[in-house]
């Protein structure tokens, strides 16, 4: 029982990171109909910024803030300098360009920082509280819960309660109609990329210190899990991304804990197959009207 409780909390904590990363993928998919395969490389770039700032100042929190700002800036740059000029007549074009960006980001990071894992500490202890002999959440897990929860609430309020959020939704759904209504579709697209990249960077800075450390490919495995989470939830659905992230996180935790960690990727694949066979649009897909 105690193992089950521990694995559940551990899975939820990790699942929230996947949720944040999946949310970043969903934000860009909704805005631009592109699966941003460069999201992991962009996030790890922001984590390197955090690593450098934290080492230079001794403050984790300055590094944390710098990573979010770097994420915002990277989102703007990638959209304005690269993605805006991609021919979107085929969805594959955006995918290929994003994969090219992965090679560039990872290559440059390797040249600048080397290809060794660099240690990056968490700001809070990862030792779980023990309640009645059962290991529960750690302080760091609570930090992850609080941070991702705040981001999800903030994004929900942005999209449902603000004029900017309304215009972002409109621009994503029908760009030409939105332009007629005075919406700057290009501006909304840039904002969408910036927000998504910042959320992806947040996921990066939350997860990288809990693994082997900072490395140009540190987010590759996280990307695969988060992409699976986004697809399971439905690429169009922010709620689906969060639920999908939690499902994938808990599944990976149970499979790693009860069976073997090497089987975990197979479990995610099996989950994808089952969900896509039952609901090809994902668990929270709202309609079949929109295709890439």
């Amino acid at each position: 029982m105690s193992e089950f409780v521990y694995l559940t909390f551990d899975g939820l904590s990790r699942g929230l990171v996947y949720a944040a990363f999946a949310l970043a993928l969903v934000l860009i998919w909704r805005a631009a109909r592109i699966v941003n395969f460069a999201q992991g490389a962009m996030a790890v770039s922001a984590v390197y910024v955090a690593y450098s700032v934290t080492n230079a100042t001794g403050s984790y929190w300055l590094g944390f803030g710098a990573a979010l700002l770097a994420g915002l800036a990277l989102g703007v740059i990638v959209e304005r300098v690269v993605m805006r000029f991609v021919d979107h007549s085929s969805p594959l074009n955006g995918v290929v360009v994003a994969l090219g960006l992965v090679l560039i980001f990872q290559g440059v990071l390797g040249i600048v920082y080397g290809n060794e894992f660099l240690p990056f500490e968490t700001p809070f202890s990862r030792d779980a509280f023990v309640v009645g002999g059962v290991a529960m959440l750690s302080r760091y897990d609570l930090f992850v819960f609080g941070t991702v929860g705040a981001v999800v609430i903030a994004l929900t309020l942005l999209f449902t309660r603000t004029a900017v959020g309304l215009r972002m939704r409109a621009a994503a759904f029908a760009p030409d109609v939105s332009r007629l209504l005075g919406v700057s579709v290009g501006g909304m697209l840039t904002l969408g990329w910036a927000l998504a990249a910042a959320v992806g960077s947040l996921a990066g800075i939350l997860v990288v210190p809990t693994e082997l450390g900072v490395h140009p490919t540190a987010m590759d495995v996280v990307f695969v899990s988060a992409f699976a989470a986004a697809v399971v939830g439905g690429l169009d659905s922010p709620i689906g991304a969060v639920v999908g992230g939690l499902i994938v996180g808990v599944l990976l935790s149970y499979v790693s804990g009860y069976i073997d960690v090497t089987v975990a990727p197979m479990a995610v694949l099996a989950l994808l197959v089952v969900v896509l066979l039952g609901r090809p649009g994902g668990l929270f897909s709202s309609s079949k009207a929109r295709v890439a």
Binding site: A163, L166, D176, V177, L180, L181, S184
Partner: protein
Amino acid sequence: MSTDSQLKELALHDITVRFGGLTALDSVSLRVAPGRIVGVIGPNGAGKTTLFNVICGFVQPTSGSLTLDGSPWRPRPHHLSRLGIARTLQGVGQFSGMTVLENVMVGARHRHAESEALAALDRCGVARYADAHPGALPYAIRKRIELARALVAKPRILMLDEPAGGLDADEIAWLGALIKETGTTVLLVEHHMDLVMSVCDEILVLDFGKSIALGSPAEISANPKVTEAYLGAAA
């Protein structure tokens, strides 16, 4: 309601649009004076919607120019709202993932978007559908919502693209009254002749992209070229 000082004069000068070998508009000129209701009619394929698309900046003219209040003007779609120009679409074009209220709020330009959107919906008689999703509503209701979305920005020039399509006689009578009471400049593309003749101060008739007549409803009714364009040479 707009005041005269807020209204704008829109003019098209010898506008020609070619799509490959097809001439969609052939040297068409039109002056839309402030406060006037101008109809654009013609058979299917005459170039009416292309004319609207030129004014909205969706189509660049091959030659010719536009002026707004006498100044040269190159329209861009996302600047129209700021300039006080609103357009409804033939195909309705609502955001099905949003509620009716949210659809109209996207068109609002002011701080109190929600109350203004509700007022516009109320003016168009569809406020009770504010929380519904447009995809689930009858076509005639969606037409009214589209009108509310155009009116919420308090436009100085209102461009209506076949607003009467799919409406019954009572609804068309209501629409005619609404167009008259806006007090703003209106550019109306419409097939429903009774509506056009009853509300317009001036009518432009297009046929195969050419302007074949321009005048008051009475003049257009009596023009044999117009009858020929609509009914064929034998008429």
